[in-house]
Symmetry: C2
Subunit: 339 residues, 2 copies
Amino acid sequence: MTTIADVARAAGVSVSTVSYALSGRRPISAETRERIQAAIDELGYRPHAGARSLASRQTRVMALAAPLRTDLYVPVIMQFVAAVATAARAHDHDVLLLMNDEGPAGLERVAGGSMVDAFVVMDVATNDPRLPVLRRLREPTVLIGLPGRADGLSCVDLDWEAAGRLAVQHLVDHGHTAVALVGPPPAAYERGTTYAHRFRTGFETAAAETGIRGLAVPCEPSHDGLGASLARVDTEQPGTTGFVVHNEPVVGTLLHALRGSGREVPHDVSVLAVGPHELAEGQAVRLTSIGIPADEIGALAVEMVADLLAGRSPQTTLVAPRLVERDSCAHRSDSSAGV
Amino acid sequence: MTTIADVARAAGVSVSTVSYALSGRRPISAETRERIQAAIDELGYRPHAGARSLASRQTRVMALAAPLRTDLYVPVIMQFVAAVATAARAHDHDVLLLMNDEGPAGLERVAGGSMVDAFVVMDVATNDPRLPVLRRLREPTVLIGLPGRADGLSCVDLDWEAAGRLAVQHLVDHGHTAVALVGPPPAAYERGTTYAHRFRTGFETAAAETGIRGLAVPCEPSHDGLGASLARVDTEQPGTTGFVVHNEPVVGTLLHALRGSGREVPHDVSVLAVGPHELAEGQAVRLTSIGIPADEIGALAVEMVADLLAGRSPQTTLVAPRLVERDSCAHRSDSSAGV
DNA sequence: CTTCATCATCGAAGCGTTTCGACTGCCTAA
DNA sequence: TTAGGCAGTCGAAACGCTTCGATGATGAAG
């Protein structure tokens, strides 16, 4: 293993000079810097991360706490993970992966061992047991998601409530007066995951404000689950012509089920999906959809980590939802509804 | 921050005694051990990972190189990642997440900085550019997947060729004489990902050996992609009554498409899926399927890392495929095929 | 000319562990 | 009785880096 002392010797300078040349914390003459760089290249020197963290008290590693559950749409989770990892690299940091099944203890372990400089935490619940721990730790934290109370912690998330409103508004603009939300599974609502609630709140608020009928039903992500939810919509709110699907695994199934019951999209009913654009585009009818900007949010989370590390104070950022029109929402000029 | 010196002072022993009590590398009397443990608990002491890695030359962290591509079925990837992370914790290791877009350089960076003790590498291609690097590194490596040449590196994967044969055999046992493989996208074949090839090889070998007709077509993971692949099957091999789907995103679509063309599953055609059991069970017809034992393979990978770290030599393990019968494959007593 | 910054560099003191070699009793085998 | 071993402990030397406080030069300001 080649050490900083080897480099110093090869370049004919002292160890501290090499260190300063590398960190730039003190001026080093251009000539010396070049000699040092040459030595580094020739020897293939890489600083020892452990020694560095011991001496400098920072690791250039951030922990990412990722969920490990089945009621979440995994591709989106993965997109967040990838976005955070990639953005972290751009900030010269690595990512230590924590699976949420370790809970608060995992965070304490990793922080206690001085393994990371900061935390990025996904899948936060209203009353997440990790929050008090995170507040106590000296390492800064960025939450992806919005807990009940965020004081002292940075947060970044999609503005789900605005997304819910946007979905309804789009259908209202197309003349629909009875819309249904096919939402996440009941489990997602019961656990305090706030995005499910916030989206539904936006949906219901907008329906009430615009004076149309709106019904929100949760949905298990399976063929039968979708069938049950659809049946509820048909009996509890007959004449529904606008569907909002906030449940990725069932969008394809929903489309087939609607057609199976004689309703053509978009001729008879309109469908608006919430989820990745690839999903929306890969269907029988290209779906108008509200995307989940996971890349943007992940990158933002890392920026916020950098801000906190630089001493700035925690803040909350909500990303505005964006709707992409495709082929699944049509104008409805008359007010009669077909079943 | 509380250090080992604080603990030693509180327990009235020397620093080295605390260290030995913790590592167990030298005998320490029960009484002393208890006093030390009490001090540790009281002070909330956690060893500093950096200092530890500096002195002991091991980090208790393993790197996991995970793919970042879209032609892979993400939930399965995530399952591998979760399995490795969980198993690593069981072995008192943490996981540093590397995204494959960093390529060989990422591995070199992390190894050079002594950040990890070992590598687990996913998504290996036939002629993966990371292989020569990994062989050169002093940290041991376990590959999840099978490259062209595995010498010097440990590998673990599903026995995809056996899986392909198993799929065909199951359909043959049910009297089918014309079977089709709806496979991964062309991109998966073109990149040297061996699992796509191996499955197809198993499929084709078994078809040839049993003397039935077999046709393999790749498939883009979208509604239209499936339509195109299905059309190819219908024209190139009319009378196909057995379908093997090795392409998770389109299984639902395939089912609907078959029904849409008047073919009932399993009455008219049988369908056998390759993928997670949840996927197979969530469909309109519960699909007979061959699972991908990601948990098992991930755990095995970590075991193999532990073996290598303990000085044992590299080895290759192929996990036997398992087929679960559900409702999508039916016996076909007559040999006439309907379109 | 002094005096004072500033630039460029060096030496040494940590940072918190592990591990090696010694040392002290005490027990056992010859 | 003594040599040898072993259990239990200690002190000190690494491990590879950062950073603080010098120390000479050099140049500008008075």
